[in-house]
């Protein structure tokens, strides 16, 4: 056992951090700066990070879940308003199904409150949302098929669904037609395939949540060190210190669980990988909401204003939490793995 990141992974982390620090939003008003956002998007597109799960040979992805998680964590820390989760999950679904790469930017469509990939059985389930859909022209869905589920693509409605200001979704019209993804060697996805894909998605959510927590804690610590009341920085009061200490500690615990989930994606069986991811997601989801709420609290009145970045972190954390299920769904997955309760179709 040695769970340190490799020097290549550390270098990858540093290069993502550089791009995000240079081109990511540093204030709420930056989110409206289309020119900046376009430059960030161009830099990420040029980096190849969205292609980490594209196959290099057969079904073997270019990079493991660990590299994908390294990228997700830094993007979360910097509130990067550019797609990564969506295109990465779409690429992984195509890889798993042996489908050719998408011709244009693509994401995935989720249903059942974003709990799972949308299954189009006749019609698109109501409430289906293409997540992290900026720039995408289509989203992958599943269609029941012999031996599992086949891949299909649907068109997207207008962008702007959801709470996350950095990763807007797009509604999928229930009347949309699912066009089968075809090509030589395309095969249906088995339950194992979908477990492994869900494990990847949860691992990326966890990494993004860890990044979000890091960013939120840093923001709150900075504010608490500067803001003065009673003639002292508020960060010198134990009541404030203990809130921030707890936030830091759950972030560290989240980081450990999230790293394991990222490793498990390619190193363990699909069932084991899903269990590892579910443990991490339940833990990270609970931690992230607490941490982001703490950041708002420490900012006082300012934290409750639109101009404060605290709610940008919170909103990002809430989307990461919903994608493929938050605490409740993942505790159910954990229990199912231990033989308690059914899996309730939580693939």
């Amino acid at each position: 056992m040695d769970v340190r990141l490799s020097s290549e992974q550390l270098a990858l982390r540093d290069s993502v951090a550089q791009v995000v620090d240079r081109l990511g939003p540093h204030a709420v008003r930056d989110l409206d700066d289309a020119e900046r956002a376009a430059r960030l998007d161009a830099a990420v597109a040029a980096s190849g990070w969205r292609e980490l799960r594209v196959p290099v040979e057969g079904r073997v992805p270019l990079a493991s879940g660990v590299e994908a998680a390294v990228v997700a964590e830094e993007l979360g820390r910097g509130m990067a308003d550019t797609p990564f989760l969506g295109p990465t999950l779409a690429a992984d679904l195509r890889r798993s199904a042996g489908a050719p790469p998408a011709g244009a930017a693509e994401t995935v469509a989720l249903s059942r409150s974003l709990l799972a990939a949308a299954v189009v059985d006749g019609s698109v389930p109501s409430g289906t949302v293409a997540v992290d859909a900026r720039g995408a022209t289509g989203a992958l869905v599943l269609v029941p098929a012999d031996g599992g589920h086949a891949l299909a693509a649907v068109a997207l409605g207008p962008l702007g669904v959801g709470t996350d200001l950095t990763r807007p979704g797009a509604a999928v019209d229930p009347a949309s037609v699912a066009i089968p993804v075809e090509g030589p060697g395309v095969r249906p996805l088995t339950d194992d395939d979908l477990d492994a894909w869900t494990a990847l998605g949860l691992a990326l959510d966890c990494a993004d949540l860890v990044g979000t927590m890091r960013g939120a804690v840093e923001l709150a610590v900075g504010y608490a060190s500067d803001r003065r009341q009673f003639g002292r920085p508020i960060g010198s009061f134990q009541a404030v210190q203990h809130l921030l200490a707890d936030a830091h500690v759950v972030m560290e615990g989240s980081r450990s669980a999230a790293r394991h989930a990222a490793w498990a994606v390619d190193a363990l069986s699909p069932g084991e990988a899903l269990a590892a991811a579910a443990v991490a997601k339940a833990y990270c989801a609970r931690a992230a909401r607490t941490v982001c709420e703490t950041t708002i609290q420490v900012h006082g009145g300012t934290g409750n204003t639109w101009e404060c970045l605290a709610h940008v972190f919170l909103r990002r954390a809430l989307l990461s939490t919903d994608v493929l299920g938050g605490e409740g769904a993942n505790l159910d997955r954990v229990l199912a793995h231990h033989g308690i309760g059914g899996d309730r179709g939580l693939r």
Partner: protein, 382 residues
């Protein structure tokens, strides 16, 4: 992408071989003791378990060979914890912090005299730090040691002294210089417990166990000057070394204890799921999640050490995570078995009650938060 060294939570070949050897050994050597938190029977059997584990080659394996260890990487302690839990065996006896403190501060002669007996489990030790008026503010301790020829004479009152009923030796902190500043006048001694000037009294804990907790009164107890650990006045740095190790879950082997308890709870619910409601099952799920998180966190911490990162304030992070894990397991135990228990088996209620001590022992959670705030987050001093 990737390279030879990359994230790997799995076993290297040597680690796997060690794991299989331990697993086979446990088939014949699991003493079937109850969880340490619930039963005096565990404490009665602990010395034999420690010695058996050592003799089997599975205790203290990460310590230097000169003191009875095997010089293995810290990951081997994680493997021991995982396999003990999987087999339902008791956790590793928790005294790593004592060994680390003596290793770091005592000279070679003192190390050679005391450490092998601690490691192999033949000598039983306790730790005399806290006093009735010196808890979180440990530096205010008043136990005194006054030089008398080749000996020191010790007078004072120690409390919350774990394992003191069973101990032959006490690592005691006492004030040797009454003029020096309060952190500077403290020295540490290996004091023999079996002598007229030492009185041990058990303190029953809230879950009813009587053998773990105690208080110790020194009234003219004598300790050879040669039993001083470190130099005169080095007691405070030694105490800080010990408490920083004491805060780390892998030093204590507690991760294995929680995993064992969770395994038992899972078996109980799976055996008769109809008895349990959604809230109870949810508490169990959180206990599983927290326990697994702690195991993975220990893996990460130990891996970071391979870079030569030394013990620092991160121990406070680990201590808080460990505490929340133990208390989540405690809440699951309460939920599934606890207050409604009928009949004679109140094990789960005891597991719950014992868990309340974890946020106090080895430095309260409030103190850990202070340390995280000041030494990791660098928030302004109060």
């Amino acid at each position: 992408m990737g390279s030879a060294v990359t994230v790997d939570f799995g076993d290297a070949p040597d680690e796997h071989e060690f794991r299989l050897r331990l697993r086979a050994w446990l088939d014949d050597h699991n003493p079937g003791l109850p969880a340490s938190s619930t039963d005096d029977e565990y404490w009665s059997g602990q010395a034999a378990w420690h010695q058996s584990l050592f003799d089997g080659g599975f205790f203290g394996v990460t310590w230097p060979t000169a003191i009875g260890g095997q010089g293995l990487a810290s990951v081997y302690d994680v493997i021991v914890d995982e396999e003990l839990a999987a087999a339902g065996a008791p956790a590793r006896p928790s005294l790593g912090y004592l060994v680390e403190g003596i290793l770091e501060h005592a000279d070679d002669e003192v190390q050679a005299r005391f450490l092998p007996g601690i490691v192999n489990g033949r000598d039983r030790w306790c730790q005399g730090f806290s006093e009735p008026d010196a808890g979180s503010d440990l530096a205010s301790l008043r136990t005194r040691a006054d030089r008398d020829g080749d000996e020191y004479v010790v007078t004072g009152h120690k409390v919350w002294t774990s394992y003191s009923d069973d101990a032959e030796w006490c690592l005691v902190l006492a004030r040797t210089d009454h003029e020096a500043a309060r952190h500077k006048g403290i020295s540490a001694f290996a004091l023999p417990m079996r002598q007229p000037g030492v009185e041990q009294r058990p303190l029953p804990m809230i879950n009813g166990i009587t053998k773990e907790f105690g208080e110790v009164l020194f009234d003219g107890a004598r300790v050879p000057a040669a039993n001083m650990i470190g130099r005169p006045g080095e007691g405070w740095p030694l105490a800080m070394t010990i408490v920083s190790h004491e805060r780390e879950p892998h030093e204590l082997g507690f991760a294995g204890r929680y995993a064992k308890q969770v395994k038992d709870l899972v078996a109980e619910v799976r055996g008769d799921p109809g008895r349990f409601g959604a809230e109870q099952v949810r508490d169990l799920a959180w206990a599983i999640v927290e326990t697994e998180m702690l195991r993975l966190h220990v893996c990460r911490r130990l891996s970071d050490r391979l870079d030569g990162i030394v013990h620092g304030p991160e121990g406070s992070v680990d201590k808080l995570l460990m505490t929340w894990t133990e208390q989540a397991v405690g809440h699951a135990a309460l939920s599934i078995g606890g207050a409604r228990a009928t009949g004679s088996d109140d094990t789960l209620m005891k597991v719950y009650l014992y868990s309340r001590a974890q946020s106090v022992m080895g430095g309260t959670s409030q103190i850990q938060r202070n340390l995280v705030a000041s030494r990791i987050l660098h928030l302004p001093a109060p």
